[in-house]
């Protein structure tokens, strides 16, 4: 008896691409692990190219079909089997992650190339394997339609991210890796606890089925509170950010770019998926405003503490803490729109744009900091003289990325700010707009300080410690330009992020 026929017609054309999007990076990791040594890098770079092609193909399939790309694994229908589902939000994140990982891959060829004499060196092999593992797990987070598969994806993401932190093996990086692992494990166990409660109450773990069955009752409240708290711990939202600054500042530059730009986006995306798709009937405005209040605190405290940092990588890490705050401002805005019976697309688009522009901008900033470190031999913010003359493209990239974080036009940050502020005003929650504007000002202060310090002429007779290959600077500039020119996203005809949104809540009037 072959699996039920309805499974066939549900699986759309692009569905197989979703399976490839998950398994190609993991297969690349496994093959790279066997070949080892320099071949691991070659396998990884080939996988990068293949993965980018797959992401573009998925986006193309989504745009043409106009509805979510679905794949029923093994032909077993969801309550029993697992379905992969990619709607507009997932596809946009798939593309972003693919682009940023390719940028990081090109950048990392110089730092993590296997030295010629040695058959196999530890750090290069481990970096390339973990890069592919991070990518595979992120793709799984974006496309999986089952809560337990998402739990395994979160664990994969954590196991791939933690060794990246302690890649250079110094005591404090190992300690911050341990702190990160324990806190992330606490987060994912709380997430699992929520998933278990949902299964106990509703008998399924599939997202659309759950969305239909979830009602405001104790099990749903406890599950939502625990899952969101767990995901906030993994996203390091303000009071729960103990592991982020030392971990992201201690890791090597390429690893910091992966950690800060991409890894935290995985758990944030999952929190968004739960909040807007699964628990759409259970969420309340006060709960959403709690998240945004933490976000506002993150923006203020993160930026002020970033101002006081003496090392560039710690400054950028605290800037990440602040920018994560921005990502959570969209929750009350979208919930406000939904309770007012309006379409919450504008707020969700604003949040997505904020996430994408931060992913590309922050990755570019950390890689720029890495280049500054290799050129100067240190990254003290007070003493960045002569960097602009040595690395003109990198300083330009840092400035463009900073402009995108501040929200100057035509960057993605500006477009996100424009959308979120207009929603804040229509839903009469003007204070979130105030927080965004103040955050932009605070961000501009430390971006200005760093850029002006690098523009100062070098001490006479100083020359850079090591000359940095040009393609590394080009990769950094490319990512910064991606973020800076993201404002052009307003020109694309169809509103990609809203295609195939599984559940549109705006029809529900309180």
């Amino acid at each position: 008896m072959s699996p039920s026929l309805s499974a066939q017609n549900l699986t759309t054309l692009g569905g197989l691409l979703l399976v490839l999007a998950i398994l190609v990076p993991f297969a690349g990791m496994l093959i790279g692990f066997v070949f080892g040594g320099g071949n691991a890098q070659r396998v990884a770079l080939a996988t990068l190219a293949a993965g980018l092609a797959i992401a573009i193909a998925i986006a193309n399939a989504l745009a043409q079909s106009g509805k979510a790309v679905v794949y029923i694994l093994g032909g077993w229908m969801p309550p029993l089997g697992v379905a992969l589902r990619a709607d507009g939000l997932s596809v946009v994140m798939l593309l972003t992650v693919a682009v940023v990982i390719c940028g990081i891959g090109v950048y990392a060829r110089a730092d993590f190339g296997t030295p010629s004499g040695v058959k196999e060196a530890r750090a290069p092999l481990i970096f390339w394997l973990l890069l592919l593992a991070v990518w595979g797990s992120l793709n799984l987070v974006f496309v999986s339609g089952d809560l337990f598969t998402l739990y395994v994806a979160l664990e994969l993401l954590t196991f791939a991210a933690v060794p990246l932190v302690s890649l250079d093996g110094r005591t404090e990086t190992v300690r911050s890796a341990l702190r990160y692992l324990l806190y992330a494990l606490l987060g994912s166990v709380l997430y699992l606890l929520g998933a278990v409660l949902l299964y106990g109450a509703y008998g399924t773990l599939d997202i659309p089925l759950l969305a239909a069955r979830v009602r405001p009752e104790p099990a749903a409240w406890a599950a939502l509170a625990l899952m969101i708290a767990g995901l906030l711990a993994k996203t390091a939202l303000f009071p729960l950010h103990l592991w982020l600054p030392p971990a992201h500042a201690g890791a090597p530059a390429a690893a910091s770019a992966v950690l800060s730009g991409l890894v935290i986006k995985g758990s944030w995306f999952l929190a968004m998926r739960l909040w807007f798709d699964v628990f759409a009937d259970v969420v309340t405005l006060p709960a959403a405003q709690t998240l945004a209040a933490l976000g506002a605190a993150a923006i203020l405290v993160g930026n002020v503490v970033a101002l006081r940092q003496t090392r560039l990588k710690l400054l950028i890490a605290y800037s990440t803490v602040a920018q994560i705050g921005y990502l959570f401002l969209m929750f009350p805005l979208a919930t406000g729109l939904a309770t007012a019976g309006l379409d919450s697309a504008m707020a969700v688009n604003g949040g997505m744009l904020q996430a994408i522009s931060h992913a590309t901008a922050k990755a570019a900033m950390f890689m720029a900091a890495g280049l500054v470190y290799t050129t100067l031999g240190h990254d003290r913010v007070a003493d960045l003289r002569g960097v602009a003359s040595a690395l003109p493209m990198t300083v330009l990239a840092f400035a463009l990325a900073g402009a995108s974080l501040i929200g100057l036009p035509p960057s993605g940050g500006f477009l996100a700010k424009w959308l979120l502020i207009s929603v804040a005003i229509t839903t009469a929650q003007w204070w979130w707009a105030l927080v965004m504007l103040v955050g932009g000002l605070l961000t501009s202060v430390y971006v200005f300080i760093v850029v002006v310090r690098t523009l100062a002429p070098a001490h006479v007779g100083w020359n850079p410690k090591t000359t940095v290959p040009r393609y590394q600077q080009a990769a950094v500039l490319a990512l910064a330009l991606c973020s800076f020119l993201l404002g052009a996203a307003v020109l694309c005809p169809v509103d990609v992020t809203q295609i195939g949104r599984t559940v549109s809540r705006n029809t529900v009037l309180p």
């Binding site: 806190y183 509170a225 729960l240 504007l437 501009s444 002006v452």
Partner: protein, 543 residues
Amino acid sequence: MKASDLLIATAVGAPLAMLLACLSPAIRKRMPTLLGFAPIPALAAALLADGTPLMFGNAQFEFSFAMDKPGAILLTVAAILWIAAGAYATTWLRNTDNAGGLVVCWLMTLTGCVGVFLAADIVGFYFLLAVLSVGASGLVLQGGTLKALRASAVYLGVALLAEAFLLAGLVMLALVMPHGSLLIRDAAAAISTSPWRDLTLGLLVVGLGIKAGLVPLHFWMPLAYDAAPIPASAVMSGAVVKASALALIRFLPFDAALPDFGLPLAAIGFFGAFYGVAIGVTQSEPKVVLAYSSVSQMGFLVAVIGMGLAVGNADAALAASFYAAHHLLAKGALFLAVGVVATTGRHRLWLVLLPAAVLALGIGGLPLTGGALAKLAVKPVLGDGLAGLLADLSAIGTTMLMFHFLSRLAASTASIPSTSAPVGFALPWLLMFVAAIAVPWKSYPLTGIGIGSYAFQPEILWAASWPILIGIVPMLVLWRWGRHLPQMPEGDLMTVGERAMRKVITWGYGLERAEGLLRRWPVATLMLLALAVFLGRMLIDWR
């Protein structure tokens, strides 16, 4: 592609193309010589283009540029000033080695400035204003001194603060625009009907007021103009400040009478006019005195706009833009004069000082000069009640300030008495002097405010000259006891601002220690559990 579209496109496109060309070092080296030519397309567009808007983009969103009457007047004079200052800058850069920085910032500011004059949609305007601000702060940075670094930091900080206010205002504006159009033309109409009218107007006025140097938020102007190189100061005091003034003129709804909004605006404007004079008199550096004169004149301009708004007559916009145009020419010329005087010896001083005196007093309204015409154009808007009286008083104050400026200017000649200014400096100065005299007269009838000959009636002449004569008396008093006046620090409110900043930094230290505490393991895990319980609690009370 009609001719006017082509003109507008090249007006903004030429400087932008040159800016992008600067990316390659080879072209950047030869760029200083071309600075003077960049604004020429803008001048051509200002003179020849008609009102049809140029649109590009797709159905979702499109930038649009158009030329309205106030824009045409201001763009013409601004282009002239940019050309003169560009020529001046070419010779200025001849003896400096790394000219690249100034060139890039110059072209960026030029692109932004021309763009803002031409922008017809909200988002395009905001984008080009941001380009203008970043470019201008870069120009201030080119001063090269530590003071320049501080001035450019203050400039950029204040500019971004203004952008924040402006963004909030523009978003509120965009929400009420009829069927989603983003054109500035519809903005003025939409404001008066929007539910958040006062808040939107407030945000726009504060945002543009900061950029235009309105008094409580003017402290960045003296710092910036003193620290920036001469051509940069000329351009910034002339064209850059007028861009935000033009924006004020375009956004504010002149058709509907808004007394409860216009009158306080006028009051602030007049206060700014007198405050600028009061502080300017105490300064010794000629450029700083000019800066405070700019503060005063911009205050007066805002007062005119305020009165126009209060009384609701539509031609206030034209009058204000004509007044701004004259001030642009005069102020730009005077800044170039400062540069020229600094390089000429005592013997040839009178060759520069006399024309400068004519222009300086012209700002005060000296008859037969552009200034008198400007004051004449503005008189009907102000009416002859209290506002008219205040206008005359500010004319007296300005004349006094200008006499003080001339005395300071005379004292700042070059050390070797016989040297004469290089031709590269003198020629643009002369061009600007001629323009400052000729253009107002030529364009006065064009603006349709009144016919040229009317200005020659005896009573008009007398009405323009008695404030000048009265102005001489306080000048003498000042010249006699000037030394006892208290020496105000340069950016007067800035010192207060600096003390506030230091206090914020100490808070920062406390916050950082608290954040360090938060990152302890027990505290962080307790926060996680507390958050989980609190979220649960927040969800429950939905029933």
